[in-house]
Symmetry: C2
Subunit: 162 residues, 2 copies
DNA sequence: CCTGGTTAGTTACATGTGCAACTAATGTCA
DNA sequence: TGACATTAGTTGCACATGTAACTAACCAGG
């Protein structure tokens, strides 16, 4: 069968293996950024994601937050509870559907959001500094493709269909 | 200088925020690949990383494994213990330095490694299928830069210096 | 209505993980 | 040689997190 190589014949080098590399860079990203708001504001990644979504969209149900920020509903639940305890968010019942509640930032929460945003953007800026804009665009385009495929390959949380 | 925007003025969109995106794609990668060897071989990500490194390098100390695969030493310790219990690796004392031990795959471990490698490569293949080779190269080059910077920004595990 | 199915959100439980402290061995420097 | 620092690896502990089970509310079809 001509020059076509059988997969089994190729070797695996973990440090070049894409899933591994993506996992490592994602880990570094979390950890590095986590320090920024962890040490200064005492909040963790799940809490940060909730704040970020509320800062952007104003008012959301826990379900929406989970969907938008790719977090398990229990993680969202706990993060919202924690933020509520600290007075950074409020929960208000939806009269039209009393199963769900709208979560929103309090003034204190908005202040924290306003403080974190520039730090986060500066962090990102520093991280990609010096990379050519064209290369970065390509990078992000491929990243989007990989993320979308990954979502399906992973079967985001549940959704065992197909 | 004229058009330059101050960071504080820009808005943050989590779904376009690079650290977040990298974390999400890394999460999908782990989860998807984890299914491959998790459901068929009953091993987790740390165990897989240990096996992968041993399959590639033959014999390593736990310290080396941790360094090569970016895992905390306690995670390595537990993964090796688990693999030892299952008869997939052996530990042999280093006479020249009795603090450390060489870990290596047993024949059973090698068989599992030989089974997983083609699955992992096929998974990677399917994941990047259809992406232009040139774009993929650019992607990987940028990824390498981001990983290296991330390592420093995160301060891999300890190394609180500077 | 009311019965069965679905959905938003919480909680009990088990597991995974990092940090700190520890043991045991090696290295260093006087 | 001996005292102190360092390193490989393990373990106690606290905490984070996913799964499954649960509650409460909504929805569909009779």
């Amino acid at each position: 069968m001509s020059t076509k190589q059988k997969p089994a014949d190729r070797a695996l080098h973990l440090e070049q293996f894409l899933p591994y590399r993506l996992n490592v860079v994602g880990f570094f990203a979390s950890r590095a950024l986590g320090r920024v708001y962890g040490t200064r504001f005492g909040i963790g990644i799940p809490e940060w994601r909730v704040i970020a979504q509320l800062g952007e969209f104003g008012q959301l149900t826990s379900r929406d937050i989970g969907e938008l920020s790719q977090m398990h509903k229990t993680k969202v639940s706990r993060a919202v509870t924690e933020l509520d305890k600290r007075g950074l968010v409020t929960r208000s019942e939806n009269r039209a559907d009393r199963r769900e509640a709208f979560v929103a930032l309090t003034p204190a929460g908005q202040r924290i959001y306003a403080q974190i945003v520039p730090l986060a953007l500066a962090f990102e800026e520093r991280w990609v500094e010096g990379i050519a804009a064209e290369e970065l665009r390509t990078f992000e385009r491929v990243l989007a493709v990989l993320t979308e495929r990954g979502r399906h390959l992973a079967g985001a949380y549940h959704a065992e269909e197909a």
